[in-house]
């Protein structure tokens, strides 16, 4: 079986290993996906006769807690990569598992928030504000869930891969980290736009 080339060494044309180049191209497409929805949000808001302040309808303390959870998970993610760089597999496992746990905590908080909205009969069909709120936060939540699933797979196969090819494993974690930080970055903009303004 032919091995995938340049998973560790930089590609002579791009100067980076293929995985990193690939994940950046993927993130570029993600910018356009969320960009289209942000654009829709601006158009809806500017075109509306009245638009509610998010803080009047949404739970700001819960969203602040979620912001802190995601920021912390970004730090644990980058620390897990740094741990592999200094050959400390034990610390990597701790930080990476913490990242998964914090991502799950984010989704649990989000589910409480959604539950409260549904209890008060606020659905995507209620009005334009809730339509764009559920669309943006729902899509973001799916990205968090996707990240958790991939990270869980990477954690479950980490030991064998670390023993077989530690450099390749470190690069995989860097790519997973780039995705996770992007998800954090999207939330950094969603939080003020939806909840505070």
């Amino acid at each position: 079986m032919m091995e995938i080339p340049y998973t560790v060494k930089p590609h002579p044309v791009t100067g980076v290993y293929n995985g990193k180049f690939g994940i950046w191209l993927f993130l570029a497409s993600e910018v356009m996906l969320f960009g289209a929805l942000f654009s829709a949000y601006v158009l809806l808001r500017v075109g509306a006769d009245t638009w509610p302040r998010g803080s009047a309808l949404l739970n700001v303390p819960l969203a602040t807690l979620n912001t802190m959870l995601l920021i912390t998970s970004s730090v644990t993610m980058v620390m897990s990569w740094a741990s592999l760089k200094v050959n400390n597999f034990g610390k990597y496992r701790f930080y990476f598992a913490s990242t998964i746990f914090l991502g799950l905590a984010f989704l649990v908080v989000k589910s409480f928030e959604y539950g409260a909205k549904f209890e008060h009969n606020h659905f995507p069909s209620t009005d334009t504000f809730y339509a764009i709120y559920f669309t943006l936060t729902g899509l973001h939540g799916l990205h968090v869930l996707g990240g958790i699933l991939v990270n869980t797979y990477l954690l479950s196969t980490a030991k064998s891969m670390w023993n077989r090819d530690p450099e390749h494993m470190t690069n995989r974690i860097e790519c997973a980290g780039l995705y996770w930080h992007f998800v954090d970055l999207v939330w950094i903009f969603l939080f003020p736009v939806l909840y505070l303004l």
Binding site: V16, F21, G35, A82, H181, D184
Partner: protein, 96 residues
């Protein structure tokens, strides 16, 4: 990257984390000042941009990345700006 360099990076990551947490508190605190909407939008987006830049620069290592990645991002930013502003311009052409 040497072990000493990684240790230096770790110190930076912790400093960035502290800055992100502090800026989150600042964002929420400013929202309680109930500024007029244009000012509130400007301040909130400014703080979010600073936070986003910190994440991208340090956690995503964009501060010391290869030219090809900057090239991909430059194209992305151009298309993102077009995606954001062309619909606005065409929709509200009469209002500008």
């Amino acid at each position: 990257m040497t072990q000493d360099e990684i240790k230096k990076h770790v110190r930076i990551y912790i400093a960035v984390f502290a800055a992100l947490a502090a800026l989150t508190v600042v964002t929420v605190a400013i929202s309680y000042l109930h500024l007029p909407l244009p000012y509130a939008i400007a301040v909130a987006l400014l703080v979010a941009t600073i936070k986003g830049s910190l994440v991208a620069s340090y956690f995503m290592h964009l501060i010391s990345e290869r030219a090809v990645i900057y090239g991909v991002l430059a194209f992305t930013l151009i298309f993102f700006a077009a995606l954001l502003f062309i619909p606005m311009y065409t929709t509200f052409e009469g209002s500008f």
